[in-house]
Amino acid sequence: MSLPQVVEQLRKIAGRDAVLDRPEDLMLYEYDGGIRKSTPGTVVFPQTTEQVSQIMRLASSVHMPVVARGAGTGLSGGAISQPGGIVIAFSRMNRVLEVDVENQRAVVQPGVVNLQLSEHVSHLGLYFAPDPSSQKACTIGGNVAENSGGPHTLMYGVTVNHVTGLEVVLPSGEIVHYGGKPAESYGYDMAGFFVGSEGTIGIATAITVKLLRKPEKVATLLAIFETVDDAGRTVSAITSAGITPAALEMLDGWTLRTIEAYCHAGYPLDAGAVLLIELDGLREAVEEQAEAVSAVCVQQKAREVRRAKTEEERALLWKGRKTAFGALGRVSPSYYTQDGVVPRSKIAATLQFIGEVSQKYGLTIGNIFHAGDGNLHPLILFDIRFPDQLERALAASEDILQYCIGVGGSITGEHGVGMEKRNLMPVLFTEQDLDVMVSLRNTFNRDNVLNPEKLFPTPRMCREVSGPARHPVLAQEGM
């Protein structure tokens, strides 16, 4: 079947206005929040699970690669299509299907925007806990695929800890259910396994998530330090003191000055680093913890500990953190965000190493990260117009991730492996570890139609079924 024929079939399935195939339209779907690009052959916007099933059946029968896409905010290339492949975009499956207050659950379609769900249930005193920085745009379907986190995952966990049930369309087109509203289900935990499988097992078309009760009290502190070292040490001192904050974020001096110039959050301009610490829960407990945390910070040489007095002050402190990436866009044409994780006790040493990497490659690296769980986001600044800078940025990033693995950490805490980190997987996992994972993928995604060339290393680095053969028509059309 030729590409135009496939497009025609897709229009029959999803409607004439629900398929894009003009080059100028497709350009909008050739990138995500990462640094890779690839142009799809067509983009389809299903409105029902049944349509997704028909699309998968069609794609499998003609061996065309498929990738599901939410808002395209991912940072690892997870939503990038194979050249000439099919993008299934979920912006028209964006309804909250059910809010079940008594069972503390919501059932949503994959295209629902993360923050919109919390806003939707806010009047009930409830919210959805995973809060990626992109939560104003990113979708819950994408959160499920990448197992996304956010600042508050320190206390509340990542997406998998908040998903109890899924409706999934398998590559065969079959519609299946995993789990449901109960917190756990007997039988294999297929829902838990599916979350974070980066779109390589199936496509979630309905997602049952936990809704949490909003905390009675929230305290937000800003602890200001002269050096990054002092701030780094304070992180493990806080957890060692028996306190688990809801969020514990760190920004280094360079980053907070850049942010301050952009959004005037009130960050100190002369600090070496700050910790943004949030405590929530029962009023009495929060007050005690806020005092205890302040004491630990002062003991660890904090110059000052400020506490947000009003909701506006709190929102401003968080605005700085959450718009950091936008602020960096003002000072550098391109930046490359990494997502390494290290054990908490290795944070100070890792920051020192990142400083050395910055000097070695002659690139500015800002540090903004989820310090409480050791999840670093070094931001490597470069100019993509100069190929040598891109190369140095990639090399610097690989050095940092290798270091993370060396101290017992991981290459991704919440962004996923996607395209960009898959060649580091053999450093983290043995060939047999990967072989077991690939055998599971092949069980569900036998012909590798669904999101090929993601997550696992290229065939020469690890035995796997290679991606579907390029469709002859695509090859002819030079796609």
């Binding site: 079940d100 008594e102 069972n103 990448e146 995952t153 966990g157 998998v160 800890n161 049930g165 398998l170 079959e174 299946v176 995993y178 789990g179 449901g180 109960p182 917190a183 756990e184 289900s185 007997y186 039988g187 294999y188 935990d189 297929m190 838990g192 396994f193 974070g196 499988s197 009760r213 060692s240 028996g242 306190i243 688990t244 029962l282 009495e284 407990a285 994780v341 054990p343 908490r344 006790s345 989820h370 769980d373 050791g374 950490g409 991981s410 991704t412 805490g413 919440e414 492996v417 983290l428 996992f429 043995t430 047999q432 570890d433 077991v436 994972m437 055998s439 599971l440 069980t443 569900f444």
Partner: protein, 440 residues
């Protein structure tokens, strides 16, 4: 080509892998009444892999075992060639108290793990029955939990890494040793609660929590289950954030307190952690519903008994039918009602206990008078209960010697069974692990 290895031949092979002193050829233990041909205690993941490769090649059947606290669950296996103990897998992979994580071999007992981290004022949230015997591997494989489930989540929330050997002998891992990690498939989720049918867990890493400095238990009594559950819902709607929130039926209280007559009350037992000010707040919020408080010092014994409900009820009523249910929160009241009605009409006694803030319920049924014809009553009660479940509830039979073979242990799951079979096929294609015990 003959693929069946004779007992003598595989005993020699297994001895060659693990050393003669770690192989017993005439074991005395049995798995649901079936005596294994031999038992083996491998000393490393490599030895586990070598045994499973051999077993896979020869289509043998292997039962993984830890402290034998849960081996009564499941159907009677047609045969057991090898009973494989993980008790020599006791390496500490990593432990730095400052990281709040630990990685240990599957052979560690849960009690050992808990006491090791308690020395550093840390807390391991796993609280299965019989922690002095229950192994870390068994805890994960059976997906066990106790009262801490309410405040700390399930194993799926705090197990952060796992090493295992697949049924066909491949050594593999998932996750790692850091608290946040999304690289690769989440193999922990597949292995937790897989009942030893996908792989043999050789070690695991966990998130730890700061140990609570002070706790207190508040007990509130109600004449009916419905009122007790309404009180639970009130707590769930409040800002309170307890460690444990447990429902005990009148008979369950009696089971846990030997010698005492069945109380008339349904009780909600809430355990809170915090300063004096925090505990005072609990007292205010819970108000006059609280009948009595159990203070630090006497609490441990009480909660230990609650966690041990399953073995205790089995000891007191050997032939009881023990069912575990995972339910949407709103279903607990109607399901308890239905169970009580079923028990009454069949002349069965009923004890129920559960983490009712998390939707978990453990139900034990036994005959009020003599055992005659009880298996039929059990089958009927089971069928009635099963038909009352909503589509996304799940149910397992943990124990039921009278009905073994008539009731499948994995009795109801909302999860697509074809997908589960596909996973089994990918990891244990020759059905080496726990063959015949847990039909999918």
């Amino acid at each position: 080509m003959s693929i069946t290895a004779t007992p003598t031949r595989f005993a020699a092979e297994v001895r060659a892998i693990c050393g003669t002193e770690h192989v017993v050829e005439s074991p005395t233990e049995n798995i649901c009444g079936v005596v294994p041909s031999l038992t083996v205690i491998p000393g490393s993941a490599d030895e586990v892999a070598a045994i499973l490769r051999f077993a896979n090649e020869h289509r043998m059947t292997v039962v993984p075992a830890g402290g034998l606290t849960q081996q009564y669950t499941g159907n009677r296996p047609p045969q057991v060639d090898v009973l494989l103990y993980t008790s020599r897998l006791t390496e500490v992979e990593h432990y730095d108290p400052g990281d709040l994580t630990i990685g240990v071999g599957a052979g560690w007992t849960v009690a050992h793990l808990s006491s090791k981290v308690a020395a550093d004022k840390l807390f391991f949230a796993g609280d299965p029955p019989l922690p002095e015997r229950a192994s870390v591997g068994g805890l994960l494989a059976m997906g066990l939990y106790g009262p801490h489930r309410h405040g700390y989540g399930g194993l799926r929330d705090y197990c952060i890494g796992v090493r295992f050997v697949t049924g066909d002998g491949r050594k593999a891992k998932g996750g790692g040793r850091v608290v946040k990690n999304v690289a690769g498939y989440d193999m922990m989720k597949l292995l937790i609660g897989s009942w030893g049918t996908l792989g043999i867990i050789t070690s695991a890493s966990f998130k730890l929590f700061p140990a609570p400095r002070q706790t207190q238990t508040f007990v509130s009594c109600f004449p009916t289950a419905a009122e007790a559950l309404e009180f639970r819902s009130r707590i769930l709607r409040s800002p309170l954030d307890p460690m444990c929130l447990e429902l005990l039926s009148p008979q369950a209280s009696a089971v846990l307190t030997p010698g005492s007559p069945a109380a008339a009350w349904w009780s909600i037992c809430l355990r809170a952690a915090g300063s004096d000010a925090v505990l005072a707040r609990y007292r205010t919020e819970l108000g006059s519903a609280v009948t009595h408080e159990i203070r630090t010092g006497n609490e441990e014994g009480f909660w230990h008994a609650v966690a041990n409900f399953a073995p205790t009820v089995r000891e007191r009523h050997h032939d009881c039918l023990l069912i575990s249910l995972m339910l949407p929160l709103a279903d607990l009241a109607p399901i308890l009602d239905r169970t009580a009605a079923v028990a009454e009409s069949a002349g069965l006694e009923l004890a129920a206990i559960g983490r009712v803030g998390a939707g978990h319920l453990l139900v034990a049924l036994w005959p009020a008078a003599d055992m005659k014809g009880v298996s039929l009553d059990f089958v009927k009660a089971f069928a009635a209960l099963r038909s009352a479940l909503s589509h996304d509830a799940s149910m397992t039979v943990l124990h039921g010697p009278e009905v073994r073979g008539q009731i499948n242990a994995w009795a109801a799951t909302p999860t697509d069974v074809t997908s589960m079979r596909a996973v089994k096929q990918a990891l244990d294609p020759n059905d080496v692990l726990n063959r015949g015990r847990f039909a999918l």
